[in-house]
């Protein structure tokens, strides 16, 4: 490989921004807006979607059919983001999301990935020993629950719709959203009423 770029990252950023502006590809305002959008994305967005899906069957159907449209329906900006797919956990099937090739992650709805999501250990073990991996999170699946490990290798981004915990009857969406953590939407943990 020839010509490895060595530059102070701030200077490199300024140089790229001015080139993008000069070529009419992206204005400084557009770049600032995009940075603000990226920083605003957090697991709280995905949790709002999950809570609504638990309360509203029509929304749940939309979310499973078209995750991008479901996110947009809650005002989550998806323009320019890869298509979002949603994987439904049930009493018989548990999904776990990994990207063995790199670190593909549904950032528009979950924000920045947790540090371990990009680790070699997580990526290698998720596809080979998923039940052992989950056990280290304290997540023990009953033997009658099948696992589906979703290796996010290409153009989609995937999030998990967890099973609504028992003893949450009558809870409103806001309270439900409060118990959904990022790991629940990756599939390493499951939400519990607390």
């Amino acid at each position: 490989m020839a010509g490895v770029i060595e530059a102070d990252s701030e200077r490199l950023l300024v140089a790229i921004e001015s080139l993008l502006a000069k070529k009419g590809l992206a204005s400084p305002q557009e770049i600032a807006e995009r940075i603000a959008l990226t920083d605003a994305a957090s697991p709280g967005q995905g949790a709002r979607m999950v809570a609504k899906a638990w309360c509203d069957p029509a929304y749940r159907a939309l979310m499973l059919a078209d995750g991008t449209a479901a996110a947009e329906a809650l005002g989550i900006p998806m323009r320019g983001a890869p298509p979002l797919g949603v994987l439904e956990n049930t009493a018989e099937l548990h999904h776990l999301v990994v990207c063995t090739l790199c670190s593909c992650y549904p950032r528009a709805v979950l924000g920045y990935p947790p540090f371990w999501f990009k680790s070699s250990a997580y990526r290698a073990r998720a596809v080979r020993d998923p039940r052992g991996l989950l056990a280290e999170w304290g997540t023990v699946l009953p033997e009658n629950v099948r696992m589906r490990v979703v290796d996010s290798t290409a153009d989609y981004r995937w999030m998990v719709l967890p099973v609504r915990p028992a003893a949450t009857d009558g809870w409103g969406e806001e309270r439900l959203a409060g118990i959904v953590r990022e790991g629940d939407m990756i599939g390493v943990t499951v939400p519990a009423a607390s």
């Binding site: 298509p83 797919g85 039940r131 099948r146 589906r148 996010s152 290798t153 290409a154 153009d155």
Partner: protein, 97 residues
């Protein structure tokens, strides 16, 4: 290749372009040569193998393919699966057994 319908048995090509020169491949090593089952067609996306080198990238069909997890690793729970996005040009049809 004709469109692959859900349920169709397929085999991932046992091809290693990275051994022949610079390559960018979205098909994981551990699935090359493995057999799986089409779950759904996800749409058409520009070929990442061209995109990565700034070449014109034709859109290719992308499939969600399920693989038996224990069959690949020789360990694991019966019935557990891997579900992976694979581009159509990496898949060969396998006659039903």
């Amino acid at each position: 290749m004709a469109e692959l319908a859900p349920g169709r048995l397929v085999q991932v090509r046992s091809d290693w372009p990275e051994a022949r020169g610079p390559a960018h491949i979205r098909t994981p090593h551990y699935l090359r040569g493995r057999r799986g089952r089409i779950v759904r067609r996800l749409g058409e996306f520009p070929n990442p193998e061209d995109l990565a080198f700034a070449r014109p990238a034709p859109k290719l069909p992308l499939y969600h393919v399920a693989f038996d997890q224990a069959a690949i690793w020789g360990e694991g729970a019966t019935g557990d699966e891997l579900l992976v996005e694979i581009f159509g040009h990496w898949l060969q049809e396998v006659p039903a057994q």
